[in-house]
C-alpha cells in the first residue's frame, strides 16, 4: 500500500466482569467509539464509514446514537474473532480508495454478563459459518464449543511435534505477566505461576482453565483515515503497512483439511508482510489473537515468526515476554486483559507504536503485527508502523 491508511484514534470502554449492573453492549460500544473519535481530535459528524461487529448493535443503531446523519459506506465482517483486524483492513480499503474519508470500526460484547459463547452455540449454531455442519456432524457427539474444536488441532500438534503443556503454560504466563503492567487488565493483581497453571482444572484436554481466554464485558474502537488526512489530526498516525485476511480450506469444516494446521493466517501472513515489505524477523512486537494458548503458538508458526513445529521452543524462556525477542500481547491479551474480540489487540498495537505504554512499553517500537483468529480458523493480520 503506497498511500497507507492510518489509525488515528483509539478508544475503549471499561473492561469488566460485573453480573450485577453491567453496562449494555450498546453503551460500551458508544463509549469506545466516542473515546476513539475524541482521541483522533475529530468531530463525530466527519465519520462517514462505519464498520460494526457482527455481535452487537447495528450500523443504524450506532449511527443514530452517535448523531452520524450521513454514512457513505457501512459494512460488517463475519469472521468471528478474525473480524476486528479484517474490519481495520476493510476500513483501510475504504479510505484509500476514496469511498470514504473517516472510518469508525467498533467491536464489543457482553461476553460475561450476557453472551456466553457456550450457551449461544448450544441453542443456535447459525452464528458460525459452518453452523449446519456443526449441528449435524459435531454437536451430536458433544463437540460443542471452540475450546473443544481447537483442542483437536492442539492434540495433533502435540503428537506430531512434541509440544508440551509447559509450553502452552509459558504463553498463559506471559500474558498474565504483561497484565500486571496494565491498569485496564481484568487479571491485574492476579499473578500466576507455572504451578498454578498446571493445577488449573482441565476444560477440554489439552486445554486447562488457564489456557482459555477470559469472558468479559467491554468494547473497543479505532478511527481509520488516509495518510493525507491523518496529518491534520490530534495523534501521531499509525500506518497500516500491510493487511490481509484469508480462510482455511474448507473453512466450514474443521476436521477435513488435508493439512490440519493450515489456517487463514497461513495464506494471509505472507501477503501482509509482502505488502508491508517487512520481514517477520524485523517485527518489534505482536498482538496475537489468543482465544486459547495453543492458537498463539500456532499463529506464531503460521505467520512465519518460526517454522511449523518450532512454536513450542519459540515461546519458552521468556522469548514472548517484554524484554524477549518478540513480546506478544503486551496488554495481557484475551487471556489476561479482556476479551473484546481482538480489537483491544489493535488498540494496544497503536498505543505501543505511539510510545504510550508506560512500564510495558516496547523500547523504540517501530513495527508491530496484530492478528485475528475466528470461527474454524479464519485468519487476519495487519502490519502496523509508526
Amino acid at each position: 500500500m503506497r498511500d497507507n491508511a492510518c489509525i488515528v484514534g483509539i478508544g475503549e470502554s471499561a473492561y469488566t466482569r460485573d453480573a450485577e449492573s453491567p453496562a449494555s453492549v450498546l453503551s460500551n460500544q458508544l463509549r469506545a467509539a466516542t473515546n476513539a473519535i475524541a482521541d483522533a481530535g475529530l468531530e463525530t459528524s466527519r465519520i462517514d464509514c462505519l464498520i460494526p461487529s457482527q455481535y452487537g448493535p447495528s450500523t443504524e443503531e450506532l449511527a443514530a446514537n452517535l448523531g452520524i446523519a450521513s454514512l457513505r459506506f457501512a459494512t460488517t465482517v463475519h469472521m468471528g474473532g478474525a473480524a476486528a483486524v479484517t474490519s481495520v483492513q476493510t476500513a483501510a480499503m475504504a479510505v484509500t480508495s476514496g469511498y470514504a474519508d473517516y472510518a469508525l470500526v467498533v467491536t464489543g460484547w457482553n461476553g460475561y454478563s450476557a453472551t456466553r459463547t457456550r450457551n449461544v452455540l448450544a441453542s443456535n449454531t447459525s452464528v458460525i459459518p459452518g453452523g449446519d455442519i456443526a449441528r449435524d456432524y459435531y454437536m451430536p457427539y458433544g463437540l460443542t464449543v471452540p475450546a473443544q474444536w481447537y483442542a483437536l488441532i492442539a492434540r495433533r500438534h502435540m503428537h506430531e511435534f512434541g509440544t508440551t503443556a509447559e509450553q502452552l503454560g509459558a504463553i498463559a504466563l506471559a500474558m498474565r505477566r504483561h497484565a500486571q503492567l496494565n491498569g485496564r487488565a481484568v487479571m491485574r493483581e492476579r499473578a500466576m505461576t507455572i504451578e498454578d497453571y498446571l493445577a488449573s482444572p482441565v476444560i477440554a484436554h489439552p486445554y486447562r482453565l488457564f489456557d482459555c481466554c477470559l469472558e468479559t464485558d467491554g468494547a473497543a474502537a479505532v478511527v481509520v483515515t488516509s495518510a493525507e488526512r491523518a496529518h491534520d489530526l490530534a495523534q501521531p498516525p499509525v500506518r497500516v503497512l500491510g493487511a490481509a485476511s484469508a480462510h482455511p480450506y474448507p473453512a466450514d469444516d474443521i476436521t477435513n483439511r488435508r493439512d490440519i494446521f493450515e489456517t487463514g493466517l497461513t495464506r494471509a501472513a505472507p501477503r501482509a508482510f509482502a505488502m508491508a515489505d517487512i520481514d517477520p524477523a524485523d517485527v518489534d512486537f505482536a498482538q496475537i489473537y489468543d482465544c486459547f494458548t495453543f492458537e498463539v503458538l500456532q499463529q506464531i508458526e503460521e505467520a512465519g515468526f518460526c517454522a511449523r513445529g518450532e512454536g513450542g521452543a519459540f515461546v519458552e524462556g521468556g522469548r514472548i515476554e517484554l524484554g524477549g525477542d518478540l513480546p506478544v500481547n503486551t496488554h495481557g491479551g484475551l487471556l489476561s486483559e479482556a476479551h473484546v474480540l481482538g480489537m483491544n489487540h489493535v488498540v494496544e498495537a497503536v498505543r505501543q507504536l505511539r510510545g504510550g505504554c508506560g512500564e510495558r512499553q516496547v523500547p523504540d517500537a517501530e513495527v508491530g503485527v496484530v492478528t485475528g483468529w475466528g470461527d474454524f480458523g479464519d485468519g487476519s493480520i495487519a502490519v502496523l508502523g509508526r
Binding site: R118, A122, D132, I133, R135, D136, Y137, Y138, M139, P140, Y141, G142, L143, T144, V145, A147, Q148, A151, L152, I153, R155, R156, H159, P201, V202, I203, A204, H205, P206, Y207, P250, D253, T255, N256, I260
Partner: protein, 140 residues
Amino acid sequence: MTNDRTDDYAKPLPAQDGLAKQFYAWCKRGDLRFQRCSGCDAWRHVPREMCALCGSFEWTWERSSGRGAVFSWTTVARPMHPAFANDVPYAPVVVEMEEGVRLVSEVLDCSPDELQIGMPVALAFDHVTPDVTLPKFRRA
C-alpha cells in the same frame, strides 16, 4: 446397540433435512455411506452439493469399509452443553476412514485416557432415538 432412552434423549440431533437427512437415513439402515463423486471418484465428507475437486454435481452414496483410525480427540472434562453434563469425562474423536475422509465420532469401548492417535477402530452404530442412528466406533 439397543436403545432404552427413547423419551429422555436430550442431546443435540442432526437436522432431518437435505444431505444430512440422506446420510443419517443410510445410518439408520445400518450402512455408513459417504458421497463419492461420479466425475472423479473422490470420496467426500461432510456431504456437499458438488465436488470441489472436479466440479461435478453427480455422486453416489458408497458404502464405507467401516474401518478407520483415531486422527485426534479431546477429552471434555467440563461440559459446555447441559445434555452432556453426566457424561464427563468423554471424548469426541476425529476418525480418519480408510476412504480418506474424517468424521467426528466416539469410540464406545474406550475410556478417554486409553485413546491414542492412530488407534484402529471399526464401525458400531448407536441407535440413540427411534429416528436417529449415529455412526460410532469400537476398537478394532
